[in-house]
Amino acid sequence: MNNVPIEYYLILSAFMFAVGTAGVLIRRNAIVVFMCIELMLNSANLTLVAFSSYLGLAAGQVFVFFVMTVAAAEAAVGLAIIIAIFRNKSTVNIDEIHIFKW
């Protein structure tokens, strides 16, 4: 493990993050958007773990647990919201759910 250079992890993480961001900005399906957000979170997790190992500090890994916990909670709430929206609007296309505007 130690002989994998840190740059590889960072490049992979940046790639994952870019994919996630593109997904959030482009995809219309709320669930896909949601999954993309998870992807972004996990890319950040990967960076944290990589640096934790590289620097030999435990703090990064502790952080990751926090992020995973929050992500789990967020998934629960987020999916519940999406289900609620689907029940009302019979769609999960976020372009059709633009009710917060002037």
Binding site: V24, L25, V33, F100, K101, W102
Partner: protein, 645 residues
């Protein structure tokens, strides 16, 4: 009883509260009148007892301070509600409660049947409360409270018949005028008070006057203090240039004119100057100004009084003129003579007003003396008392006005100048003339009123106060007989007040001695002038009624100027009122308020609105658009951070 002096302040307040709160429910004129009058009557008794107790004390112990509670305590400023009972305040309190009581009783008859009878008595009692605070106060602040209080009551009572017309406007306009003109004076008084506190670190009479007596302070400071205080006095006591409100104050009911605008409130300025005599004596230049202004006021008001046809207007100008006399006395340093004239004037001028009220009452609210005539036989009591008062004010020998007015004239000559004396005598001459013009036009000659008017004598609730005041007008002068008639120390009034003014008189330089012969000669001249002009009035208005018309026709310009009161009102209107109105309307209202202030308020709202119109375009509801913006934000922030590394 001296320690209970605060009751004299409290009782009228209680009367005011009872009549003011329950008056509408009492619905009983007699009860309302009795409550109002007895509050003042009891006060008078307390003052009278205190007076005799003080009289029994040795001279050094005649000044008492009755402390009630601390009113204001902030930093170096400590104001107590405390009443000063000394020779001067007792004289004033006797006048205010005594004359006030008689006028209260008179009002029961005069205001009979008025729809707000109770309100009238409530205001009168409130006035006495404020006036007692004014004269009994032992510091400037409490005095100022009373000062403003009497101004308020004056305003309320001038506009008492708020639904009536008065001359070209309404009574409320007259009331407003009185209030506003008084504010100008009050402004001066306030400045004077600030300067006193700055100079002496205190507003307590005793402390201020002691410091003024002991410590040398520049004459300039004294000059400004005296000037500011005099502006206040000029406003309240209707002196040039602030006298214009008093004639208009006649819009109020006649007892009000008698009580407030003749006997008591308008003399507050005289009292205040006398009280602060040491401050004024330290500024001789201002003292001269006071004498000159007093003299001019006396003279010009008397000339206006010569031609007025409204019975109350004549008396109003006469009051202004007599107040001028008092200020003349103060200005030449004869403080006790000024207070003496204040007292005798309170008697006979209150009597004149109440007599006029009785006539107006009989003539169904007609006030034009050209429409009176021959009333002597219809109302003998009113006639006799009015006649006595007219004699007293004219300075008929032996009556109160003779003693007080001649004392002032004598001091004007001996402490002032010959010119002052001549002007004073000319004023006295005119006073006698217009008073007897009033008497002859009202009570003598042909009846000029229409047939549907049936004059009748007033009820005794009105005539008895007239008689008491008539007695006072006759004997009131004998407590102040000049030294030439009574010998050394025979002037009891001056003797009584001497301790109050001693420090001021010490500060004023000594005047040269004059012989008694001179005094007698001058007295003889002024009496002869008064008697001559009484006869002249008799000749003009009863023997040859045509003369007055011919003369006024001959001197048309002068006559018109006098009838129009030297156009002072018009001049003030165009020089002061109109410009202020124009500036207020065109600059302050239409420009400063509408454009600048409203512009700033409306402008900020307008900017926010326009800004919002642009910004709200970003709020399109598309989640991904928001996300994009967020991303861009983060990207920019990152760039920023990276660039600044």
């Amino acid at each position: 009883m001296i320690n209970y002096i605060y009751l004299t302040v409290l009782l009228p307040l209680v009367g005011f509260l009872i009549n003011g709160i329950f008056g509408k429910k009492i619905k009983n004129e007699k009860l309302t009148g009795i409550i109002g009058s007895s509050a003042v009557g009891l006060s008078f008794i307390i003052v009278l007892i205190s007076f005799f107790q003080t009289l029994a004390l040795p001279v050094e112990e005649r000044s008492h301070t009755v402390e009630l509670f601390t009113w204001i305590n902030a930093g170096g400023l400590n104001i107590k509600v405390a009443y000063l009972v000394d020779q001067l305040s007792l004289v004033m309190a006797l006048i205010v409660t005594g004359v006030g009581f008689l006028i209260h009783v008179y009002s029961i008859g005069y205001m009979h049947g008025d729809k707000s009878f109770w309100r009238f008595f409530a205001y009168l009692n409130l006035f006495i409360f404020a006036m007692m605070n004014l004269i009994l106060s032992d510091n400037f602040v409490l005095l100022f409270l009373g000062w403003e209080g009497v101004g308020l009551c004056s305003y309320l009572l001038i506009g008492f018949w708020y639904d009536r017309k008065f001359e070209k406007g309404t009574t409320s306009q007259a009331a407003k005028k009185a209030f506003v003109v008084n504010r100008i004076g009050d402004f001066g008084f306030l400045l004077g008070m600030f300067l006193i506190f700055l100079t002496f670190d205190s507003l307590n009479f005793h402390e201020v006057f002691t410091k003024a007596e002991l410590f040398p302070i520049s004459e300039k400071v004294y000059g400004f203090i005296a000037l500011f205080l005099f502006i206040g006095a000029a406003g309240k006591s209707a002196q040039i240039p602030l006298f214009v409100w008093l004639p208009d104050a006649m819009a109020g009911p006649t007892p009000v004119s008698a009580l407030i605008h003749a006997a008591t409130m308008v003399t507050a300025g005289v009292y205040m100057v006398a009280r602060c005599s040491i401050l004024f004596a330290s500024a001789p230049a201002i003292l001269t100004v006071i004498a000159v202004i007093g003299l001019l006021t006396a003279f010009f008001a008397a000339t206006i009084g010569l031609v007025q046809n409204d019975i109350k207007k004549v008396l109003a100008y006469s009051t202004v003129s007599q107040l001028g006399y008092m200020f003349l006395a103060l200005g030449v340093g004869a403080f006790s003579a000024g207070i003496f004239h204040l007292m005798t004037h309170a008697f006979f001028k209150a009597l004149l007003f109440l007599g006029a009220g009785s006539v107006i009452h009989a003539m169904h609210d007609r006030q034009d003396i050209q429409q009176y005539g021959g009333l002597k036989k219809y109302m003998p009591k009113t006639f006799i008392t009015f006649f006595i008062a007219a004699l007293a004010i004219s300075g008929f020998p032996g009556l109160s006005g003779f003693f007080s007015k001649d004392e002032i004239l004598w001091y004007a000559y001996s402490h002032g100048s010959v010119l002052m004396w001549i002007t004073g005598v000319a004023t006295a001459l005119m006073t006698a003339f217009y008073m007897f013009r009033l008497v002859f036009l009202t009570f003598y000659g042909k009846e000029r009123f229409s047939h549907d008017v049936h004059p009748h004598e007033s009820p005794s609730v009105m005539t008895v106060p007239l008689m008491i005041l008539a007695v006072l007008s006759v004997i009131g002068g004998y407590i102040g007989i000049p030294v030439i008639f009574s010998g050394e120390g025979g002037n009891h009034f001056e003797h009584w007040l001497a301790p109050i003014f001693s420090s001021a008189e010490r500060r004023l330089e000594n005047y040269g001695a004059h012989s008694h012969f001179e005094e007698l000669l001058l007295m003889f001249i002024s009496v002869a002038a008064a008697l001559g002009s009484i006869y002249f009035a008799y000749y003009v208005y009863t023997r040859r009624p045509g003369i007055a018309v011919t003369v006024s026709g001959k001197f048309k310009g002068l006559y018109k100027t006098l009838v129009n009161k030297y156009y002072v009102d018009e001049v003030y209107e165009s020089v002061i009122v109109q410009p202020i109105q124009k500036v207020s309307e065109r600059f302050l209202w239409k420009f400063a308020d509408n454009k600048i202030i409203d512009g700033a308020v409306n402008g900020s709202a307008y900017i926010i609105e326009k800004l919002g119109e642009v910004i709200r375009l970003f709020q399109n509801g598309f989640t991904q658009f928001y996300a994009l913006i967020m991303m861009l934000g983060i990207a920019i922030a990152l760039f920023w951070i990276i660039l600044s590394l």
